[in-house]
């Protein structure tokens, strides 16, 4: 076995590889097709139900193919609930939080990566410690602080506490440290300020890290439920996730409209997923975050 010529073995391996590539059918399809079906059924069934009539949703066995496609279910949702308002609220909160994180975490991440300032190590450890605390431990006092600031039942309650986070600082600091420091030093010698170096040299080189942070923050903010549940009371200030829950309560039996609302609530994250799939995967693979 071991005294066979290496060349022949390497040739053999190459041959096997080629054969595998040629025969694209593999028994693994028999495993993967059922998995894919199981993963897609809930989504497809939601889409199908969202264009059914109310009558069709109340039949058993279920109506697998609607007799005619009820696109107006989607506009009915916008008419029956302040869905547009919730969509707008969620967009305002998410976009502001993403921008805040990109800005504040860039500034802090750069300071922690490159500038030796008094107390840097201690502060950095403190910041990282907050990553390990479960949200349930801090949510009651955070609620009290946000109430003291007069932000309860405003979008500010959802924005202000989340404008910067340990996750973003850590992610960007790690990335900044991989950049060649010579470029920055050269610019400093030419008289550029720290801020100038950050914005003109470091950030333009940090596209992938910034995209990863933006995408993960977007996902997390858009999908958040517990914190809005605690801090928002008026339906006009609801986010989509809150709005969806009342939809279920108030219109318990209008399944087709609930599904249409659900589809619409997912469109932005799904779009982002398909456009920026690379950054989603990277963000999850390197940091392990899901809302």
């Amino acid at each position: 076995m071991t005294d066979r010529p290496i060349a022949a073995t390497a040739h053999e391996v190459e041959h096997v590889r080629k054969r595998e590539r040629r025969f694209l059918f593999s028994p693994w399809h028999l495993v993967l097709i059922p998995i894919a079906i199981a993963m897609l059924i809930p989504l497809v069934w939601m889409l199908v139900t969202s264009v059914q009539t109310l009558n069709e949703t109340r039949q058993y066995p279920p109506t697998l193919v609607p007799h005619s496609i009820q696109w107006h279910n989607y506009s009915d949702v916008l008419r029956l609930a302040p869905f547009g308002r919730w969509f707008l609220n969620t967009t305002i909160v998410t976009v502001t939080v993403v921008i805040g994180n990109l800005l504040f975490c860039s500034l802090a991440g750069y300071a922690f990566a490159r500038i030796k300032f008094f107390g840097r190590e201690v502060v950095f450890v403190l910041v990282l410690a907050t990553l390990m605390i479960p949200f349930q431990v801090v949510m009651i006092p955070t609620f009290l602080i946000v109430r003291r600031l007069g932000l309860i039942d405003t979008l500010g309650a959802l924005i202000v506490p989340n404008l910067a986070g340990a996750f973003g600082i850590f992610l960007l600091r790690q990335f900044f440290r991989t950049l060649p420091v010579e470029l920055e030093e050269a610019a400093r010698i030419d008289g550029a300020s720290r801020i100038g170096v950050l914005f003109k040299i470091v950030l333009p080189l940090s596209g992938p890290a910034l995209a990863t942070l933006a995408v993960i923050t977007f996902l997390w903010t858009w999908n958040d439920f517990l914190w809005p549940l605690i801090t928002i009371y008026s339906p006009s200030n609801y986010t989509l996730q809150l709005g969806l829950t009342t939809f279920q309560g108030a219109h318990a039996t209008i399944t087709n409209l609930l599904m249409a609302a659900n589809v619409m609530s997912m469109i932005p994250v799904l779009l982002l997923f398909f456009v920026a799939q690379r950054y989603f995967i990277r963000g999850i693979a390197t940091t392990g975050l899901k809302g």
């Binding site: 076995m1 071991t2 391996v13 694209l24 693994w28 495993v31 993967l32 894919a36 993963m39 809930p42 989504l43 069934w45 939601m46 139900t49 109340r58 058993y60 279920p62 500034l107 802090a108 300071a111 008094f118 403190l126 910041v127 907050t130 390990m132 605390i133 479960p134 349930q136 431990v137 801090v138 009651i140 006092p141 955070t142 609620f143 009290l144 602080i145 910067a164 600082i169 950050l198 999908n223 439920f225 605690i230 996730q241 969806l244 829950t245 279920q248 399944t255 599904m259 659900n262 609530s265 997912m266 994250v269 997923f273 799939q277 989603f280 999850i284 693979a285 392990g288 899901k290 809302g291």
Partner: protein, 295 residues
């Protein structure tokens, strides 16, 4: 001249750049940790002035039957969710880690639920698992099973939540495992093949040990998240039917924000934190003795 020099010094610039983020993290991250510890020694409804009660909240916990029920449900949920999602993720990732037709489609199908919110997932499964009109009962009926009550059934509600959350999380495990699988050196696989290792032997003796760090990470991370289950329970069952799906965080939320028993809830949050921390340390210690790090 002197003032200019101080302004340009690294201490000032460093602090100026770090300050906005650090300030926010101190106010909304560090202060609440300490405040929460103080709250756990008080009786407070978040409105009237708090009363200092020492360890009373912590002493009351083991005598609270609903707390014990919630802990039991959280443990059952975690013990089911973690192995099922991690093993399922490993199996799916191994299946996806090959160049076959349509593999991009399969991957997308598995990844998409990762970006779907907990509430949107719950809404889909509420309909899928509807006892009267749901597709799940109809499909199960085709193979002679059911009908089931799913979220409406005392015996099935918690298991239905396990099934639903595995659907939502498995793509996360697959992403981590695929990244780890692609990091396995091809020479190692070839060497094992040359030494006559069969497919199963290769998987057991080469692939699984090399995936150790990914498995450890997923077990730790899934456990932390499983013990914090809330959104799905709040939306789907509100802890019911009866108390069949009462879990720790749902009980804690109810105490603090519906019943105004915030000091007790804070004590419960700290106990949860201690449990999570202890479990994580134990898992990491076991991992240290069993996980093989290639580099």
């Amino acid at each position: 001249m002197q003032a200019r020099k101080v302004l340009q010094s690294d201490h000032v610039t460093g602090w100026a750049l770090a300050f906005p983020a650090v300030f926010l993290i101190v106010i909304f991250g560090i202060v609440p940790i300490i405040w929460s510890a103080i709250l756990s020694f008080q009786r407070t409804n978040l409105i009237a002035p708090p009363v200092w009660v020492g360890l009373e909240n912590y002493r009351a916990l083991p005598k609270d039957p609903l707390f014990k029920t919630s802990v039991a449900h959280s443990i059952v949920y975690t013990v089911l969710f973690v192995p099922v999602s991690v093993a399922g993720g490993l199996f799916t990732a191994v299946a996806l880690n090959r160049k076959i037709r349509g593999v991009r489609f399969y991957r997308t199908a598995v990844f998409v639920p990762v970006v779907v919110s907990t509430i949107a997932t719950a809404i889909m499964f509420l309909w899928l698992f509807d006892p009267n009109f749901g597709l799940a009962n109809w499909l199960l009926g085709k193979v002679g099973l059911g009908p089931y009550g799913f979220f409406d059934s005392v015996n099935g509600a918690l298991y239905s939540i396990v099934g639903m959350t595995v659907w939502g999380w498995i793509g996360f495990d697959v992403i981590i495992y695929l990244a780890a699988l692609q990091g396995i050196p091809q020479e190692l696989v070839e060497a094992a093949e040359i030494d006559g290792a069969g497919k199963w032997g290769l998987f057991r003796s080469v692939t699984v040990p090399l995936l150790g760090p990914a498995t450890l990470f997923l077990v730790v991370w899934s456990t932390i998240n499983a013990l914090q289950l809330f959104d799905e329970v709040y939306f789907l069952t509100h802890g019911g039917p009866g108390t069949a799906t009462y879990v720790v965080v749902f009980y804690l939320y109810n105490l603090a924000f519906s019943q105004g028993i915030a000091g007790y809830a804070a004590a419960m949050a700290y106990v949860l934190f201690a449990a999570i921390l202890a479990l994580t340390v134990v898992q990491l210690l076991i991992g240290k003795r069993t996980v093989y790090y290639a580099s």
